[in-house]
Symmetry: C2
Subunit: 195 residues, 2 copies
């Protein structure tokens, strides 16, 4: 081993990996209340992109809260730390040339600003999934609103914790009135400048 050959950074760059994959890497950050359709839209979009042979990966509570962030609670500080870690992981994925879809409630403007700061604003498209609290609570897909209303979940956004509507979202999708297909298409067109 010759110490003079010690490399200071990887010889393979993000641009190299994007060229190998034939795609650009950026993040689509879907946010909104629980029940606003984040996961549904993420998975539909992922499927559509994958069928176009785009390497795309979804990050959401399911694969983050049970793994990387299993040590975190849902206090405000821990939610911010959760989002910070996710943004740092997304940054690594983008460096690896992979397109990411992140689906997190992301209730605070300051956290959204932190995410853009970590990723660089040119690397992330933030998409607000707009849906009234009433409709989300009526859907209650995971029965979480019911549990929150019975105080069986603390710090639940919309019930016992605040959601701050975004002031300048890149894109707003009305998931209360539009069909899943229309929502997915609107995100797709916005992010890929098609149609």
């Amino acid at each position: 081993m010759h110490t003079s050959l010690f490399p200071t950074q990887s010889p393979i760059t993000r641009a190299d990996r994007q060229a190998l994959l034939g795609q650009g890497a950026f993040a689509i950050w879907l946010y909104g209340l629980s029940g606003s359709g984040k996961t549904t839209i993420a998975y539909h979009l992922e499927q559509q992109l994958f069928h176009e042979k785009i390497l795309v990966y979804c990050l959401d509570g399911d694969n983050i809260r049970n793994g990387l962030c299993r040590d975190l609670s849902f206090t405000q500080a821990d939610r911010t730390e959760n989002l910070r870690r996710v943004a740092e992981v997304v940054k690594l994925f983008l460096d690896a040339g992979i397109l990411c879809i992140a689906s997190f409630i992301t209730p605070k403007e300051s956290d959204r600003a932190m995410i853009k700061e970590i990723l660089g604003s040119g690397n992330v498209i933030d998409v607000y999934l707009q849906c009234s609290l009433n409709t989300c609570a009526q859907r209650d897909v995971k029965q979480l609103y019911k549990m929150a209303q019975n105080n069986r979940i603390l710090n639940f956004t919309g019930v016992s914790s605040l959601f701050e509507p975004p002031e300048q979202p890149s894109l707003v999708i009305d998931t209360e009135h539009e069909s899943i297909e229309d929502c997915v298409n609107a995100v797709y067109r916005h992010c890929f400048h098609k149609g």
Copy 2:
């Protein structure tokens, strides 16, 4: 939006992504003292694999300690937490179909066991880079041993913190006496069953 269409997991699997990329995804975990050649071997191996059109990504202190784990110190507990998070990130990369090379000192047997527990032992090949403390300290590529000996770095492995040699490593590479090229080739052959 129809709640009945709510998906419970991504429709795209690791197998789908591996098929798209035409590669298997697993982790190569290089560990050993500072100066044992982890980063050097990682980058050389990455370059070789990338030239074979394998999508591979390196995780090391440089892209982890300044990002995902910037909140952590070098106490024993924080070093374990650092490795836990890295293993969880590697797990996500493997799920995305990407081959990972992780380069971390990983000084404790219990941490190596934790990493295998998180990833599943079939998903990770651990490679011990064997090199005497004297030689590593003489190389002192980053001038870290010098700083540690002057107490300007605390908890430095080999000086003020213990390194436990592995009891059952998958592969041992003698980076003290072998050339970089031979070391890289040995890891390559072992991991890809070639040559």
